[in-house]
Each structure stands twice: as structure tokens, then as C-alpha cells.
């Protein structure tokens, strides 16, 4: 079984971002970049399938700038067999990324695509579902458990208020949630080995997909600040404010 894992290079989750002063975008110059944490979980799951002998090949793919090679090296250090970078300097919407990934799926013919449920920069939560729809596959989103069945994958999904389990015929797309696994710490020797694993770089254009979309971000701003609060004298005043002013009780 061949597993394809799309990964995205994003600002590290520990790093605070802020809008540029002219509001034209988010200032990410010199910030620490990492693999999207949800993608790390997908990567970990794929590698576990590989180690369990279920998967025979794990291929990581990223669409982004040349620096996304670092992200793919991380994927290779996790245990991916090879990696593909489709280079573009443009920041592309999920509708376009899913077009490109559908083309990659066409070339690679994986049995399973495992990917993060959302990127922690644009928080879109779309790409896996869009890819599944484009290639006409079933989807298991927000996976917290994954089990391989006979010609199918059984995915337990985190939904509001609990979990829900679905069975998908293969090939399928699964998007990963936080509780699926805890990604391993990368071993130093594996990081060194990853530098020698195959990493194929091609311009995104080589896929021949349309990179236009109807959506664009026009400006960004900090979230509105909260109004200054008031001090209440006693419980009675607090209850009164909550009931009559804030109307939350």
C-alpha cells in the first residue's frame, strides 16, 4: 500500500504572529517555520503504517517555496521514503492546492492520502475534503483512530460531542486530528540520513493546473481589543450585571 502525505510549511505554533503595520498581510520575516502540527500527526501515522508493514511506501509532498524543502526533510527524517516539492512563491488557496494534489494523486496513484485536518496559519480546514471530492474518493475527516480493514480503512472521527466511526473503501483521504497520535521525537541519525533521501523538486507549473481562484485576502488586522471592565462590590451587583447588562444568565 502506498501512502501519500501532503505537508505544509507554516509559522511554528509557539511563535506569535502579527499583522504588518500597513495591514497588507502577516509579518512572517525571520520567524521560525515548521511542519504544520496536524501534518506531523499524519506523517507519524503514515510511518507507523509503514513500520507495521501495512504501507510499503510513504511519499511526502509539499507545495510552496524552495524553503519548504526543510519541511520535506523533516518528513524524510520521520521516515518518508521520498519527497516531492512543487515549487511556487505564490500563497495559494485550498481550492488550488486541491487541484494540484489531485494531479499528484494522478501521478502517484496512492492507496491512501493522509493529511492534517487544517493548517495552523490560514485555519481553512478544506484541502483534504476538496482533494477527496476532486478524485472521487471517500473521506474520513478529523481522525482520532485509524484501522486498516479488508480493502477499507476504518476511521474514528472526532465530532462535536463525541466520536463517529466510518468505513471507507480504498483509495481514500483521511485528515488527522490532534488525538490520533503523538508524533515521535526525531532521531539525530535519521535527520542526517534524511539529507540523503530522494527529494524531487519541480515547479508547480509542471503539473499544468490552473492556479487561479476566486478568493483573495485583502487585509489583516489585530482582533479588536476588549473593552475595559468594571469592579463590582459584591455578589448582588455581579448577579445584577450578568443578568441585566451582559444578559448571560
Amino acid at each position: 500500500m502506498k501512502v501519500l502525505v501532503p505537508v505544509k510549511r507554516v509559522v511554528d505554533y509557539t511563535v506569535r504572529v502579527r499583522p504588518r503595520s500597513d495591514g497588507s498581510g502577516v509579518d512572517i520575516a525571520n520567524l521560525k517555520m515548521s511542519m504544520n502540527p496536524f501534518d506531523e500527526i499524519a506523517m507519524e501515522e503514515a510511518v507507523r503504517l509503514r513500520e507495521a508493514g501495512v504501507a510499503t511506501e510513504v511519499v511526502a509532498v509539499s507545495i510552496g517555496p524552495a524553503a519548504a524543502q526543510d519541511t520535506l526533510r523533516t518528513a524524510l527524517a520521520f521516515g518518508a521514503d521520498r519527497a516531492l516539492l512543487l515549487e511556487t512563491e505564490e500563497s495559494l488557496a485550498p481550492v488550488v492546492i486541491s487541484r494540484a494534489l489531485a494531479a499528484v494523486v494522478g501521478e502517484e496513484s496512492p492507496d491512501l492520502v493522509l493529511m492534517g485536518k487544517q493548517a495552523i496559519d490560514d485555519d481553512c480546514n478544506q484541502t483534504a475534503q476538496m482533494l477527496a471530492a476532486r478524485v472521487g474518493w471517500g473521506q474520513g475527516t478529523f481522525a482520532c483512530r485509524l484501522e486498516m480493514g479488508d480493502g477499507e480503512v476504518i476511521v474514528t472521527r472526532e465530532v462535536d460531542g463525541g466520536t463517529r466511526t466510518v468505513a471507507l473503501g480504498l483509495p481514500a483521504v483521511v485528515s488527522t486530528d490532534l488525538r490520533l497520535n503523538e508524533p515521535r521525537y526525531l532521531k539525530l541519525p535519521n535527520i542526517m540520513k534524511a539529507k540523503k533521501k530522494p527529494l524531487d523538486r519541480r515547479p508547480l507549473d509542471s503539473l499544468g493546473v490552473d492556479t487561479r481562484s476566486g478568493i483573495r485576502m485583502v487585509s489583516v488586522a489585530e482582533p479588536p481589543a476588549r473593552k475595559p471592565g468594571v469592579r463590582v462590590a459584591d455578589v448582588g451587583e455581579l448577579l445584577d450585571k450578568l443578568k441585566n447588562e451582559a444578559q448571560v444568565i
Binding site: 502579527r18 503595520s21 525571520n30 521560525k32 503523538e182 521525537y185 539525530l188
Partner: protein, 540 residues
Amino acid sequence: MEFDVVIVGAGPAGLAAAIRLRQQAKQTGQDLSVCVLEKGSEVGAHILSGAVFAPRALHELLPDWRERGAPLNTAVSEDQFLLLTQGRALRLPTPPQMHNQGNYIISLGNLCRWLAEQAEALGVEVLPGFPAAEVLHDEQGAVKGVATADMGRNPDGSEGPRFEPGVELHARQTLFCEGCHGSLTKTLIDRFRLREGVGPQTYGLGIKEVWEVDPTRHRPGQVIHSVGWPLDTRTYGGGFLYHLEDNRVAVGFIVGLDYENPYLSPFEEMQRFKTHPAIRPVFEGGKRIAYGARALVEGGLQGLPKLSFPGGLLVGDTAGFLDVPRIKGSDNAMKSGITAAETVFDLLTSSPAGGAEASDFRSRLDNTWVIRELHRARNIRPGFRWGLWAGLAHAAVDTYVFRGRAPWTLRHHADHERLRPARDCQPIDYPRPDGAITFDRLSSVFLSNTNHEEGQPIHLKLRDENRPTALNLPVYAGPEARYCPAGVYEYVETGDANGSRLQINAQNCVHCKTCDIKDPDQNIDWVVPQGGDGPNYPGM
């Protein structure tokens, strides 16, 4: 894993050494494997400096740095040296050492990121996220490399489900370039008695913020240094204000860690500094975008330990080459890295076995401008033990009359011995933060992007758990709660007979090392946490 040379720390010293080693290997057609370990999540993540940078060593190392796109973008255009009193600023003549023509205002973190790229292009293995946690010795006791930190231990030290043991990296020579007060350097100084016959090191704590200021208040290239207010005249320290590119201003404040009053809070002195009428206007309408802190070495020539030992060297500010009157450390650190590389390269070429001592490192350094200048400057910092006025007067005489050739050398005292009992000192009433120009500790730490994965052992080790409440709190009024610029140490009331206990919020730590330096009883050992943890400075 085996390397010819392992370098601990991807700062200016370590990266300069790595680059020089590979340059020599290439020039002579030899194969010399060099690996640089870095505890930060990436190169530059833990780097913090002013910084006004003199490109002398850089020019020696990579003469075509300009063509290669080194991030030296803002040439210094103006130098000011201010004496602050409460409410007034008096412009003093800028001392000759502090002239900055030909120097640049930079982010040292970004310079290190660039140096790491140059090193990798030369074939150096740069490995961020892997702290060296332990020095390895051969049977003769010589250093034979280091082991990286374990990952995935539980708080009690047991192995967690994702436990990944550290890896041993063996080398014929190991260069310790940990920056000021390195944690492995501390063990090496003990083991090899590197401070025997040498006076103690002395330190300062630098706290820095980066602001994006109103464009009308931005003077790219302007450099301001200050002494005086808000510190009392017994305490050594001063402020700086550097105008970088893109409406950015770096502001910082340094307090000598030989301060005496345990009520002093370097963090709050820094916040107060920004409210001086000569300083405040720069920040009106601006926005603070980064925060961090780091201890720095101030001991100069007298503070330098022995630099070599079997199997390795101390290089850069973990030894302590910062030139206090010039307020320059990176240039000297790089030069020491270059010299260390040349020394080690010659040693490895002539005697290929590991574990030899590159004992000529110091004598080679003595013949460079690094030691010559440190010698000239050696009496200036210790002169300030007599207070600001005498210190300034002494510095003027030493500089203008003796020209650094005074026939004596003043000694330092260990910083941790300088604290006076709280009962002999005045509490300091610091103003409350206004949320516009001045801030509290926690919202500041937030901007350092520091992170320590939960569920690992605390990396700030108390040798004696009872010392904080037996000594630090009753005698010194709990100084760690004040000197820590990240709110790591907190005395909390237990509500029972014990009264209080020391809470260590290790996840806030910004790796400044002040606690390891200033704890009055030397009860705190700062050790490396899991790889990649700590601040993520965006170009400090």
C-alpha cells in the same frame, strides 16, 4: 556518531569556527567533518544581542560578505552617550571606544542564520534542536565529545512513552561555544580547574525589546547609550537605543549582576528606563514586537579562564571575550572562533589522535586584537565598583591618561557574593506598567515565544530544595523572583505552617542564565531542557 570536530552552539563563535575549519580543509584538500549542535529550535532562536556590530572578524572570515548578502543593513550614522538623571539627559562626550563609524546595527540572530547558511554550504552539519547535555571523556579524562539531551522523559526523570535517548557525538576536538555562562562550560571549568589562579567572572543581565515605532520618530542608524537613571549610582548598568531598518528600534537595558540590593529588579529598571523623558517619545504610538533577555560577560581579561584542556577549547563568550567599554562581543567571539579553528586545524593536521590539548590557543589569541584590546580595557569595568561617578572618572583617566597602560589590574568579585541582606537595603517602589510603554513580565515573556514542552523534568535544578525558603526568602527577600526576567521564580503562599514555597515556572524560561549566576548560595544549576525548547526569538 563520529566527527573530526564537534562544536557546541551555533552562535557567532561556533559558526565562525565551523566556517574557518571547513575553509582550511577545502584549501588544503583535506576531509574534515564538522558538526554544530544548537539547543534552539533553529539557528538564531536563542541569539540575543544589542547589537552594534563591528565587521572586522566577519571581514576576515568572509571578505565577500556584502556580495553574499550578509544582513548588515543599517550603518551607524550617529552616536550619542547620555547621562540620565530623573527627568534630564546630559549629553557626554562619546568615549573613543564607543565610536561606531563603520559599524552596523544588526540583529545578531539574523546574522547567525546567515552564517549557518554559509557554514552549511561549506559542508558543515548544522543541527538545531539538539542541545549538548553532557561532556564525554575518554579513559584518560580527555574530552571526546558530547551527548545530546534525552527527549521524552517524565517530570520525575523516568522514561516516557516517546522516550528518545540522547546521542553520543564523538570528536577529536570539541569546541564549546555556548555563549555567556554555558552549562557544559561550567562543568568543564570545575573538572579541569580552568579558573585556577584566575579571578571570578562577572556578568550583566541584558533585557531587550524590539519596537516598531512611528515613522516620524525613526532615525535609522542612530545609536544612543546611557548611564545613570533609573539605576542608583552604586549599581553598574545602562541603556541602549538602536534605530534599525523598517521603523524598528531595539531598546535594551543592562544591569551589572554585581548589584547589591536584593530588591532590585532588572526587568523593572528596563521598563522604567523607557519612561525617561529623553527616551519615551521614541515609543509613543509604537508597538512592542519582541522581548528577550540574556546574561552577558563583563569580566574582560581578568575574567578569562584557561581556554584549553585535553580534547577541547572554550571559545567565544562562554570564555568571555566581550569588550565592556566598546560594548562589543560578537566581533571578538567570531575572532576567537576563527583563531580556535586555526589552532585546532593545525593540531589535528600535526597530531591526528583525539584528546590532545590545543594549548597554544591562548598564546595565538594574545597576538590578536582581541586580547590586545581587552588588555587595554581591563580596568574600566572593575572601576565601577566604586559607583557611577568614580567609575566614570576612573574610566576617563584610564582611557585618556593611561590609555589602558596603567601599571595595575583591578580584580572582580563573584556576582553572587555581592548581594546584601534585605534588612540592610531599601525596597524599591517600581511604577506599575501602563500597558503602552511599560509592561509586566508575563506579557513580555509571551513575546519571546518561549516554549518548553510539558511533562519534562524541570531544567532548573535546585541543589538543596530547602535553600530558597531557608536562605533566599528570609535573608534576601527572594531575589530570584526579581532578577528573573521571565517570571520563572515565584514565591507562593502555601497557606500552612511552611508559609511559602518556591514555584519554578520552568516553561517561561528564556535561557538567560541569570539564576545560575546570581543565586546567593549557588544553589541553582541551569541545565539544558529538551531539544528545541526555549525562546524563539524573531531576529534578536
